[in-house]
């Protein structure tokens, strides 16, 4: 943490960046996002296990962009989000400085290539617990899964906290906000909730960087991240493609291979 704070002080003092987007202590033992603009306030920055939020989400916020060039205290998921956003032309090279924090170390990553290398060196599979979680649902039969999700979605409020928390949901006008026709129902009834969650999962397919913020943000504890994770696995298994590893290139659903599998197609 000290390394992070002194790095932050240095970056602000030398005006290399105008703002450090990082974590500070919040309420209820949580961490919260903080936007440090003065070197003197760098001591507010913390980094520990409570720092989970994917701060890359703030790149879609105009008030944050207006603060100037930012350094972002980046979790591994945030680094992947930055690369995916770069691949989707939402961030340009040089617009931000990523500060990868690990233990007591701070690794400044100024270019996308540096971020790519950093991510690649630490890349790995899901943890045993994460795999188990997904497998638990697959082990349920079709009917049990159906009942599970029906119950889950019956509690959805359509507050769109999942969408707001996701760094890859940056559309200035979301599909649900278009009427003529109102394609996804606005009211939070069971069918509308199912359709919204399906839409969200599909629009993130091939793009989600698996930060889990959607599930964390949900005020009624729906394990939304499972939908995204299931599709991450599908995209990787079938197309061999993973988001958030390169600052260039099309994502899985905006490209194709002539020999993509089609054993289910008659």
């Amino acid at each position: 943490m000290q390394a992070l704070r002194s790095k932050a002080r240095e970056l602000l003092a030398t005006k290399t960046v105008q703002v450090i987007i990082g974590y500070a202590s919040g309420g209820g033992g949580r961490a919260r996002a903080v936007f440090v603009r003065e070197a003197a306030k760098a001591d507010a920055l913390v980094f520990d296990d409570s720092c989970q939020q994917n701060l890359a989400v703030y790149f879609s916020k105009p008030e944050v962009r207006k603060l100037g060039k930012a350094a972002l205290v980046a979790t591994p998921a945030a680094l992947r989000a930055i690369l995916q956003l770069a691949a989707e032309n939402q961030i340009a090279e040089g617009e931000l400085l990523a500060l990868a924090v690990g233990g007591d170390d701070v690794v400044p990553l100024a270019t996308f290539a540096a971020i790519e290398a950093h991510v690649a060196a630490r890349d790995g599979d899901w943890s045993a617990a994460e795999k188990e979680e997904l497998q638990k649902y697959e082990a349920m039969g079709l009917e049990e899964r159906r009942r599970f999700w029906e119950e889950q979605f019956s509690r959805c409020l359509k507050c769109y906290a999942c969408r707001a928390a996701c760094p890859l949901c940056y559309c200035t006008r979301c599909t649900v906000e278009c009427n003529q026709p109102q394609w996804i129902p606005v009211p939070a009834h069971d069918l509308g909730n199912l359709e919204w969650n399906v839409m969200r999962a599909m629009h993130l397919a091939g793009r989600c960087v698996d930060c889990g913020d959607c599930g964390r943000a949900c005020p009624v504890n729906i394990p939304l991240h499972l939908l995204n994770r299931r599709l991450i696995r599908e995209v990787f298994t079938v197309f061999g493609s993973r988001s958030g590893r390169s600052a260039k290139g099309d994502n899985a659903l905006s490209t194709f291979k002539p020999n993509d599998p089609e054993d289910f197609i008659q």
Binding site: W149, C171, C178, A205, L231, S254
Partner: protein, 788 residues
């Protein structure tokens, strides 16, 4: 307020024999918003169309539904009629109650109710249609011709002579193509170069033609009338403005023993070379692969001797950009080299050669100056065996088609040999003689009867060497399969005509379709042979299929006409896409593509503005709200009654693409094949346009099962729509299964326009499966749940 006119056609008895059209018309009158509902024997006839026009005027109709045959049949007919009556043509829809109903189901109440249901669906859709106007786009009056063989040359000259500008791009250092390699042409035995070179010169000198030789197409963007081409002019290694074509460099070049491509490997050329003396342009090119300077850094002799100091060793490729209105693809073909039949010994024996090599031997400017000599020892062959069908018409070895020109050129080769070697003995082993053109049969007869060419009907099993001669073992089937052995001095194989090496890559750059053999696909084999499915890109010559010179020239001229007419207009009116662009959509919308929030990339916009459906242009990155979303059958009242009749009558919705599966379903109808009536077909421009949410909307609307079907991969009318759809389906299935939705309720399929039988089978099997799975009550129960 909607005032829809519904017109039910009897189609003679085609519809009325199984559908109670009077009842449908009466019931349709009761649909809310329908102001006029009649039936008539032949709606497409003049009086029938007049009924529509009168009703539009008298009843002030705001939309028209003609329930009759397939829209692929008569949609333009009725749209024109509506336009003539003052109703915007896009407010007219056709309800397909013939191919998709009366022809495929048994006579009875259920069929009548299905027809009524189809009418209801289209009435609901047309209420939401918007009046559309054709888009006017300015047209660039320049054509890009790819390929400088006879077809390309002819196309370029025709277009240039009509007053339009042409950019001709040829890959080789000179234009001329294979025709410049030929000695004499059938059936006239004209000297090939004599008739070709004047045209080559004309191309070079024509004020309207810009020639880029030793060049390739780098990329093509845009759409008809407004293409942007990038052309790579490869580095010749000299300044063309300074080079006079004196040829001194070629004479002095010390590296002289390179097999000449123009001479099909039978002759040699230097590293700096002009492919043949009559080359256009008559400027050499430095072959960097063999040039001593590029390989070792030494020499540069040409540079020293060049009188105008034109040599430029450091020259780099140059990219030229051009705006063109249309593209003609005339990239030609090649013949198959190599040991397709190892038993014939090509490549093993020097004296087994292919057709192009024989042409070079026979050619006055060839490696033997027109004398037929054996490549091995230079002797004049006394006996020559010509083997026809040495690779074509062979399904077992992958070339199942006929290469068309070989019978004729084999006869020609045999005749040329006899003309040059009076005492020579030519034999031709053949399977059939294909000589269908004007004067063609007479030509072959002449070879047999006047020039003494011995034709043997039978195949050759082996060619091997014995004492310096080649033994050809064959069989004479007209003499009862009598085995035959001929000792020949030279064997000429008529190998298959195949697509050029770079054909696939080029096709993908152009987004034109091609078949399994990489020949380019025409829009319609009979009715639109010179166009591709991509508007503004035309075909000429053998890149489409093996063909001879008269055909290539004819096709080029025809293609010219197709280009001139649209180009003559100051602007082009394009049929607008019936789907409306959605505002400010971004990210992975319906097509699964991402893009910046706004604006989208130029290329995407260009394609989006392209004449999309129903004419042809790749349409991939649009995210458009389709009126078909709103046409979801919202009510199934007739099915409730039908339900009461049977234990469970599954409701199945089929989302199909217009170009393949819808047409395939039409074919099922035309073939009068019967299938289960529970399916309701919804037409889309492309599977790539089918939003995955539609599947859920269908289930919510009461469907128990869904079919999604479109063109086979590589056949997509928009080149890649189905490829994108395929990926989306994989992912969506995974999600559905994870959410507990039984994926067996959704059947994905590729059904082509030719697979009428497959459509019927698919529907029947799917209906059966859904019947066994039962009603999708769990999903339909969600409707209304959670509302206080």
């Amino acid at each position: 307020m909607a005032r829809i006119g519904v017109f039910i056609c009897h189609c003679g008895e085609n519809i009325s024999a199984t559908v109670d059209v009077v009842k449908v018309a009466a019931e349709a009158a009761r649909i809310p918003g329908v102001a006029h509902s009649v039936e008539y024997k032949y709606m497409c006839s003049d009086p029938g169309q007049q009924l529509v026009k009168n009703a539009i005027k008298e009843k002030n109709l705001t939309g028209v539904v003609v329930a009759a045959c397939s829209p692929r049949m008569h949609e333009p007919t009725f749209r024109r009629a509506c336009a003539e009556a003052g109703l915007n043509p896009f407010l007219c829809e056709m309800a397909n109650i013939r191919e998709h109903c009366s022809w495929v189901h048994e006579k009875g109440e259920a069929t009548t109710q299905k027809a009524l249901d189809i009418v209801r669906t289209l009435v609901a859709k047309v209420k939401k249609n918007k009046a559309l106007e054709p888009i006017k786009v300015p047209v660039t009056k320049t054509a890009l011709v790819l390929g400088g063989g006879i077809a390309g040359i002819q196309a370029a000259l025709d277009i240039a002579n009509s007053g339009h500008k042409v950019i001709l791009v040829e890959q080789a250092p000179s234009i001329g193509g294979h025709m410049s390699q030929l000695s004499e042409t059938f059936p006239t035995l004209d000297c090939s170069q004599c008739i070709l070179t004047p045209r080559m010169v004309e191309v070079a000198q024509h004020p309207n033609i810009t020639l880029h030789s030793y060049s390739e197409l780098e990329s093509l963007d845009g759409f008809i009338g407004n293409f942007k081409a990038r052309i790579r002019r490869k580095a010749r290694g000299l300044d063309e403005k300074l080079c006079t074509g004196c040829g001194l460099c070629m004479q002095k070049c010390p590296t002289r023993k390179i097999p000449s491509e123009f001479d099909a490997g039978l002759g040699l050329r230097p590293a700096i070379y002009v492919p043949f003396p009559q080359a256009v342009p008559n400027k050499p090119v430095i072959d960097r692969e063999h040039c001593t300077y590029y390989r070792t850094g030494k020499c540069r002799l040409c540079e020293k001797v060049c009188p105008t100091q034109a040599i430029r060793f450091g020259q780099e490729d140059e990219i030229v950009e051009a705006e063109v209105g249309a593209v003609v693809v005339a990239t030609g073909f090649d013949i198959k080299h190599g040991d397709f039949f190892p038993e014939y010994g090509y490549g093993k024996h020097q004296d087994v050669i292919d057709g192009l090599q024989f042409e070079r031997l026979a050619s006055a400017s060839g490696p033997t100056l027109g004398e037929i000599r054996r490549p091995s020892d230079g002797k004049v062959p006394e006996t020559v065996v010509f083997i026809a069908c040495a690779g074509s018409r062979d399904p077992a070895k992958g070339i199942e088609y006929c290469s068309k020109i070989c019978c004729m050129y084999t006869a020609k080769h045999a005749m040329l040999y006899r003309h040059k070697v009076h005492h020579g003995k030519p034999y031709v082993f053949y399977m059939d003689i294909r000589a269908g053109g004007k004067m063609y049969e007479e030509f072959v007869r002449r070879a047999m009867e006047e020039d003494g060419v011995q034709y043997v009907r039978g195949r050759v099993s082996r060619v091997y060497e014995r004492n310096g001669r080649l033994v050809v073992k064959g069989v004479d089937t007209l003499l009862g399969a009598r085995p035959l052995e001929i000792e020949a001095d030279l064997v000429v194989l008529a190998t298959a005509g195949v697509a050029n090496a770079g054909a696939e890559e080029l096709a993908q750059k152009l987004h034109v379709s091609y078949d399994a053999h990489k020949f380019y696909a025409e829009a319609h084999p009979k009715l639109r042979p010179v166009e591709t499915n991509t508007a503004g890109i035309f075909l000429a010559g053998a890149c489409q299929a093996p063909k001879d010179i008269p055909e290539s020239v004819a096709q080029s001229t025809a293609r010219r006409r197709r280009f001139i007419l649209p180009a003559s207009a100051a602007s082009s009116a394009r049929a607008p896409a019936p789907t409306r662009p959605s505002r400010r959509r971004s990210s992975a919308a319906a097509t699964g593509r991402w893009s910046r929030p706004w604006p989208r990339s130029t290329r995407a916009c260009a394609r989006a503005a392209a004449p999309a459906w129903p004419s042809a242009a790749p349409n991939r990155s649009t995210s458009r709200a389709s009126p078909t979303r709103r046409s979801m059958p919202r009510f199934w009242p007739c099915w409730n009654e039908v339900n009461a009749m049977a234990d469970f009558n599954p409701k199945i919705v089929a989302f199909v693409c217009n170009w393949c599966t819808y047409a395939g379903a039409d074919l099922t109808g035309t073939s009068r094949m019967k299938y289960a009536p529970q399916v309701s077909i919804v037409r889309f421009p492309c599977t790539g346009r089918i939003d995955f949410m539609l599947l859920l909307k269908a289930f919510a609307g009461g469907a128990d099962g869904i079919i999604v079907s479109g063109c086979h991969p590589n056949d997509c009318h928009y080149s890649s729509g189905n490829f994108h759809a395929r990926r989306r389906w994989v992912v969506f299935r995974g999600l559905m299964d994870f959410l507990g939705i039984d994926v067996r309720r959704v059947q994905f399929s590729w059904v082509s326009a030719a697979e009428g039988a497959k459509w019927a089978q698919l529907v029947n099997e799917t209906t059966d499966r859904i019947r066994r799975l039962g009603p999708f009550a769990d999903y339909q129960r969600l409707r209304g749940q959670g509302v206080g």
